[in-house]
């Protein structure tokens, strides 16, 4: 059988498992739609998101302004698209960074064991107990609120979760026969850890990493609502903060940005659940 058909049949089987839960499909659709709208928004938005007075102030949603305008006459829809781009960037960049660090540290701890393992476990315990949100507030207040610090801070607070997960997978996998077989065949430690064990440990990491994207987006929204976001970027959290003073006359300025985050995060979480069905064999049997 040519290899391309085999790949596509595996993909089809995976999609079948993923799509068994109808919510996952809805989530995937929401996420893809939102990503496309956001990508389109980088090239073209109906109005310049930062420009004041592109419409009358506090105009209600209508054909000219899909989500109305704020008190300065800025187009809320254009601003939500730009804000979502920042929000999704923070979400995915953070999850990627935290996953890479978590995988490296977790693999070393799980494979090398002993001192490395003990040290890692002590560090992750501290991160698990010290409330993340407060530490993030402190770090952002001290080191300055900007996009890079936002990603670094949230990633710093998120990697231990991934590291613990990878470590646990390593501990259960390293005693399996296929690892012994590779060792007998002459594989070195690095090849055993990254060539044999890691690929089999990735499933749960992908699920956790996906959920991390949503968590990071919520954390970013919370921080920027408190005034700790990047002031140079359109931020959904800050928009929601500012919308509160015009809430009585412009409900859409509150509804729009929040709905944007909500749809993005629920889409990601639903996709995460679907991936869990795919990678967690116990859930697969249902």
């Amino acid at each position: 059988m040519p290899s391309s058909t085999r790949v596509s049949s595996t993909a089809r089987e995976n999609w079948r498992v993923f799509a068994r839960n109808r919510f996952s499909v809805v989530g995937a659709a929401l996420l893809v739609g939102l990503l496309m709208a956001t990508l389109a928004g980088t090239v073209f938005t109906p109005f310049d998101p930062d420009k004041i007075g592109v419409g009358p102030g506090l105009a209600a949603p209508g054909s000219a302004h899909l989500l109305g305008t704020d008190e300065l006459g800025r187009d809320v829809f254009s601003r939500v698209l730009h804000g979502l781009r920042v929000s999704l960037f923070v979400g995915f960049a953070t999850a990627a960074l935290a996953s890479v660090v978590g995988i490296v540290v977790g693999s070393i701890a799980g494979f090398a064991g002993r001192v490395a393992d003990d040290a890692l476990m002590r560090v992750t315990e501290v991160f698990l107990v010290v409330p993340r949100f407060f530490l993030a507030i402190l770090l952002m207040a001290f080191f300055g609120a900007n996009l890079i610090n936002l990603v670094l801070t949230i990633a710093l607070l998120s990697w231990p979760e991934i590291a613990r997960l990878v470590r646990a997978e390593f501990l259960s996998l390293r005693a399996r026969q296929f690892v012994d077989a590779a060792r007998v065949a002459g594989a070195g430690p690095a090849e055993l850890a990254f060539g044999e064990i890691l690929p089999n440990a990735l499933g749960p990491v992908i699920v956790a990493g996906t959920l991390l994207v949503g968590q990071a987006m919520l954390l970013e929204a919370g921080l920027s609502y408190l005034g700790l976001g990047d002031p140079g970027q359109v931020s959904l959290g800050l928009m929601l903060n500012q919308a509160q003073s015009i809430m009585r006359s412009a409900w859409w300025a509150t509804a729009g940005p929040g709905l944007g985050i909500f749809i993005a995060v629920i889409g990601i979480n639903l996709v995460g659940d679907g991936l869990n069905d795919l990678f967690n064999p116990r859930a697969r049997e249902r």
Binding site: V130, P131, F134, L135, A141, G144, L226, L240, R248, W251
Partner: protein, 323 residues
């Protein structure tokens, strides 16, 4: 006395964590861009005498380890310095704001748990019924929503448009009431923030109760109880629920930190005069002593609650093995 020994052991394990939390502040003061004095004195123009006094007090001209030692000495006697903004000792400010936060948290916790457990039992008894599906969807939404946005939507609909509840604060400023009237007034102000704050809690506990109840209800001793003719109500509430509730204790305890974080956002939305709102004010005015004091106190509370949760769990679950 295995219980006592276990409790003591858990308490001792928490000590290094608290020391690390305090240490984080110290590291931040020194690692942040600028002179540590900027952080300690704030944006105001300080007199040369005050600068000299602060330098001596914090021992800024001495080696770092002496400074660290001094810092621990100060914080462990609850001396966090004075707030730039309020010109008051940080610890007094925190103490005066803490009751409001505990009230909000307590209300959300008690009502949230009651609602979540009731819905969880009903959903577990009739899996995939309309009620089960609807609650599952609402719980999923509760997970995926910024807590402050939910607060804003409630504020928008129920305070501003329908005018059913007050929008801001903890008491009516126009007609301050006394005695019972004051209690009712506070309860009236509490409704919206407590709902906004409690939804995540409900979402979390609902899912857990549902899973645990389903688990427990399929066990042999439940089948035995039913076979003996024990009334269904009694099977569910006495035989099953008691065992299903055990893990809830741990989850509520371990989520305390997350809840405290949610209080910052909820209190900011509703201008609720607790520690969360205080933290927001500290951020806005870059009031570093207040920020660090709040971080230390709140993080230490989280550690304490975690320890208490473990001890409590050991007390109520006879199966816990002491190691």
């Amino acid at each position: 006395m295995p219980h006592f020994e276990y409790a003591l052991q858990r308490l001792l394990q928490a000590v290094p964590l608290v020391l690390i939390i305090i240490g984080i502040n110290f590291v931040l003061i020194h690692a942040a861009p600028g002179d540590p004095l900027d952080v300690l004195l704030g944006p105001s123009e300080a007199s040369p005498q005050l600068i000299a006094q602060m330098r001596a007090e914090f021992g800024l001209d001495q080696p770092v380890w002496v400074q660290l030692w001094n810092y621990y000495g100060k914080v462990l006697t609850l001396d966090f310095g004075s707030s730039f903004r309020y010109r008051e000792p940080v610890i007094d400010l925190i103490a005066s704001r803490l009751p409001a936060t505990l009230l909000l948290m307590g209300a959300a916790l008690v009502f949230g748990t009651l609602i979540a457990v009731t819905l969880g039992i009903l959903a577990a008894l009739r899996p995939y019924s309309t009620l089960d599906n609807a609650t599952t969807i609402v719980a999923l939404a509760g997970y995926s929503m910024p807590v402050f946005w939910l607060g804003q939507i409630l504020l928008l609909v129920f305070a501003l448009h329908l005018d059913w509840f007050p929008a801001q604060g903890m008491v009516s400023l126009r007609a301050p009431a006394e005695g019972m009237g004051r209690v009712l007034d506070i309860a009236y102000h509490l409704v919206l923030p407590a709902i906004a704050y409690g939804i995540y809690h409900v979402a979390l506990l609902f899912r857990l109760t549902r899973v645990k109840m389903q688990d427990v209800l399929s066990q042999d001793y439940i089948i035995t109880a039913r076979a003996k003719g024990v009334p269904e109500m009694r099977v569910v509430l006495r035989h099953a629920l008691r065992n299903a509730l055990l893990p809830l204790v741990t989850v509520v305890g371990l989520n305390f930190g997350f809840m405290l974080a949610g209080s910052v956002l909820t209190e900011t939305v509703f201008a609720w005069p607790g520690t969360g709102r205080l933290l927001y004010e500290a951020i806005l005015s870059r009031d570093y002593p207040l920020l660090m004091g709040l971080f230390t106190c709140l993080a230490t509370m989280v550690v304490a609650v975690n320890v208490l949760t473990d001890i409590l769990y050991a007390l109520i679950d006879p199966r816990v093995v002491y190691r």
